[in-house]
């Protein structure tokens, strides 16, 4: 409509376009960084930023000037290619590459540009050419295992599924994935039914104290979970549930209840009164009205809540830390990442990125597939 109005400045529209593009990029960068990093190998991650992942990376390698020396003009010469060194054949399978610089000491791996002939000491010289061939000369016959050569070479960008293989098979992450699923699904399904009946009563049945109950639900909506942790864990311990899946299902059911009741009641109260009254005139009981009319009509709200509760239980760290045992048998992914991986694998960015991405992949899939319901639920759930 409004793009039709005369006198709108085209420049303003451009400014809007550009700022939205900038905003979207800004919002995406962190996630894209994680995604890209999860496909890179650990050495490449620390060698260059993920933003330069599509470009070749300059990495440092080592080789040895080993082999049988040949005597030429009174000096011993060892020649060969750094890429052919057994230490490097894995990364340069065809023996080809481009050397940018080389050096003889580990702390200065790129001290000299490729092609420069360098005096090392007492009559030894070394040159590494950009194609990787080297020539080492010495007045005395070289002994030992051969001169160390460090060089910097461009390696092609490399993407690998190795991190995913590691994360999904080792490290108990697969177990954590199953555990998360085990926590999330019953915690999503069970509250829905309980809340739906209550929401119907609060929306369509007349009884004293109804307003008070609705107010109570609105109030409980914001009670901090922190309050519940200690008393309920003690309670669970006393009645023998302890830290267990059963305990966390019950806890999530209770914690999700206010939002469920509130969301569903708001939706049900908006259903047309005529339909419900005409069903009652036709002789349906409240139970039948609920099961046969209100429940099917409330599907969008039920879906909204289910998505919320699923995302919330899947993503939860607090409740899982308190109500589940802390051993690796029962760890969910968030706990696994926060307590385990960040501690023990703090430096292994590839594994961290992959684990994080595995844990957010399910919510992201849910989000992109069911966004419509999520938005609808958000709009219904905020107190107007």
């Amino acid at each position: 409509m409004s793009d039709n109005i005369v006198g709108e400045k085209a420049g303003l529209m451009w400014a809007v376009q550009i700022s939205v593009v900038a905003l979207v990029i800004l919002w995406l960068i962190p996630t894209v960084g994680l995604l890209v990093s999860s496909f890179r190998d650990r050495d490449q991650i620390s060698a260059s930023g993920w933003w330069s992942a599509p470009f070749p990376v300059e990495e440092t390698f080592r080789a040895r000037a080993s082999g049988d020396p040949v005597q030429e003009n009174g000096v011993f010469v060892i020649a060969g290619s750094v890429f052919a060194d057994p230490e490097n054949t894995a990364r340069f399978p065809d023996g080809q590459g481009e050397v940018a610089a080389f050096g003889t000491r580990g702390i200065e791996p790129g001290a000299y540009p490729a092609g420069e002939v360098v005096e090392i000491d007492d009559g030894e010289t070394l040159v590494v050419n950009s194609d990787g061939t080297f020539r080492f000369t010495s007045v005395e016959e070289p002994g030992g295992r051969g001169q160390r050569i460090y060089f910097e070479a461009l390696t092609p960008p490399e993407f690998t599924l190795g991190n995913y293989r590691t994360v999904l098979t080792a490290d108990n992450m697969d177990r954590a994935f199953i555990n998360t699923l085990t926590v999330a699904i019953p915690s999503t399904v069970i509250p829905i039914l309980i809340a739906a009946f209550a929401a119907y009563a609060l929306a369509w049945m007349q009884f004293p104290g109804r307003g008070l109950l609705i107010a109570a639900v609105v109030g409980l909506l914001v009670v901090p979970l922190q309050l519940a942790l200690v008393p309920l864990l003690n309670l669970h311990n006393q009645i023998g549930i302890g830290q267990s899946f059963l305990g966390i299902w019950l806890a999530h059911t209770g914690f999700g209840m206010p939002l469920a009741v509130y969301l569903l009641r708001n939706y049900m109260v908006g259903l047309p009164r005529d339909i419900i009254e005409s069903a009652k005139v036709d002789g349906a009981t409240d139970f039948e009205v609920f099961v046969k009319i209100v429940l099917p009509l409330s599907f969008p709200a039920l879906a909204s809540f289910a998505i919320f509760q699923f995302l919330w239980t899947w993503n939860d760290l607090l409740v899982a830390k308190v109500f589940l045992p802390s051993n690796s048998e029962a760890q969910v992914m968030t706990v696994k990442i926060a307590d385990d991986l960040l501690g023990s694998r703090g430096g292994d960015w590839g594994i961290l990125a992959t684990a994080a991405f595995v844990s957010i992949s399910v919510p992201l899939a849910v989000f992109f597939l069911l966004q419509r319901y999520l938005v609808r639920g958000l709009l219904a759930g905020s107190v107007k």
């Binding site: 039709n4 109005i5 005369v6 006198g7 709108e8």
Partner: protein, 363 residues
């Protein structure tokens, strides 16, 4: 002082053309009403004049200045919206003053303009209220007041009465008519789908249909001499009856043989070449009277609607426009199934060619 000229104006949304070949000349002091069925493009045309829609083709001028690319606020127009479009968070006073405040006019001048408009519309007691504390009629008056404060060359009204209940609508209609009297120098354009509003308010009516102008003229002109069957049936309620027939004699008078039987002689000139042409004969329900002899319509009464002041009879016969409707003054106790003869004075009859164009308007 404002003269509006639209020349070959058209509007298209992509491939869909919603208005085409609109030529219109509106002079100072007129109150022109755009009327037509929903979807005819009347609101779009008004919004194009306001600048809220771009003009796809043709030119639009106010006082000789091309307006196609002039932004709405610079056109010297003010608009009263169907929903009033009051700013809900501002008091009546702020609502009316908003435009002048944006234009950074001195405070004294703003106050004076607001006070004047409020006095004219009896809004003085409500100046400090929010719109939600006003009745529908009062909100309507605030919307008009906001337009007056802007002191525009042209007032635009977009179905301003359609959100009011029936009684208030009549009262407000009269107020608008009085407002027009008081502001004789201003030009007003008024969009409505209600033909009573159109007939009572307009100095000229523009009948739109399917994106084009069907006829432009003074209200009674349209009633008495509709240019085509569309206007004939749109203006007047119930709609004009149409009967199919064939010309059998032409000249100063035209003789038509009706498909339902009988012949009618009309004082309408036709050409010799028109002889044998399939035509439509139009009669307004209120022009039909019962007659003892055969008349020219005979039918069986299907429905009788007694309204007290008038009686509507629905007769079954082979008319083009469905059952023939007759509007008889006063109360008539006629039973269903009764057979009835109806006739009308020859000067009350309308004749349309196969394209629906009136013989009076043929080129």
């Amino acid at each position: 002082m404002a003269e509006l000229v639209l020349e070959d104006v058209s509007k298209a949304y992509g491939p869909i053309e919603v208005l085409r070949h609109i030529d219109l000349h509106i002079t100072t002091g007129e109150l022109v009403v755009f009327v037509g069925p929903s979807g005819c493009g009347k609101s779009t045309l008004l919004r194009m004049i306001a600048g809220l829609e771009r003009i796809s083709g043709g030119t639009f001028e106010i006082d000789g200045v091309r307006m196609n690319d002039v932004p709405p606020a610079k056109r010297g127009i003010a608009m009263v919206f169907q929903s009033y479009a009051l700013y809900p968070h501002m008091t009546v006073r702020d609502n009316m003053a908003f435009g002048m405040k944006i234009a950074k006019r001195p405070k004294a001048e703003i106050d004076e303009a607001v006070e004047n408009a409020a006095r004219m519309l009896q809004l003085e007691p409500y100046l400090n209220r929010l719109p939600k504390a006003l009745s529908g009629g009062q909100r309507q008056r605030v919307a008009i007041g906001r337009a007056i404060v802007r002191d525009p060359k042209v007032f635009l009204f977009d179905e301003p009465l359609s959100n009011l209940d029936a009684a208030l609508r009549v009262a407000t209609r009269i107020e608008i008519a009085q407002l027009k009297e008081r502001m004789a120098g201003s030009t007003m354009i008024y969009v409505t789908h209600d033909q009573v509003e159109a007939m009572t308010l307009a100095t000229r009516i523009v009948v739109l249909n399917g994106g084009g102008i069907e006829q432009v003229g003074a209200p009674l002109d349209l009633y008495e001499r509709p240019a085509n069957t569309f206007v004939a049936q749109f203006i007047g309620s119930p709609a004009m009856n149409l009967f199919k027939g064939q010309t059998i004699a032409c000249g100063e008078q035209t003789v038509v043989e009706l498909e339902t039987g009988g012949t009618v002689t009309l004082p309408i000139r036709s050409l010799e070449a028109d002889k044998g042409m399939g035509v439509s004969l139009g009669v307004r329900p209120e022009d039909l009277t019962p007659s003892d002899d055969a008349g020219f319509i005979t039918g069986e009464v299907e429905i009788v609607e007694g309204l007290g002041e008038t009686t509507l009879l629905h007769l079954k016969n082979g008319a083009e426009s469905g059952p023939t409707i007759a509007k008889l003054p006063g109360i008539h106790r006629i039973g269903r199934g009764q057979s009835l003869h109806l006739s009308a004075g020859p000067e009350k009859l309308h004749l349309f060619d196969p394209n629906g164009v009136s013989f009076l308007h043929r080129a």
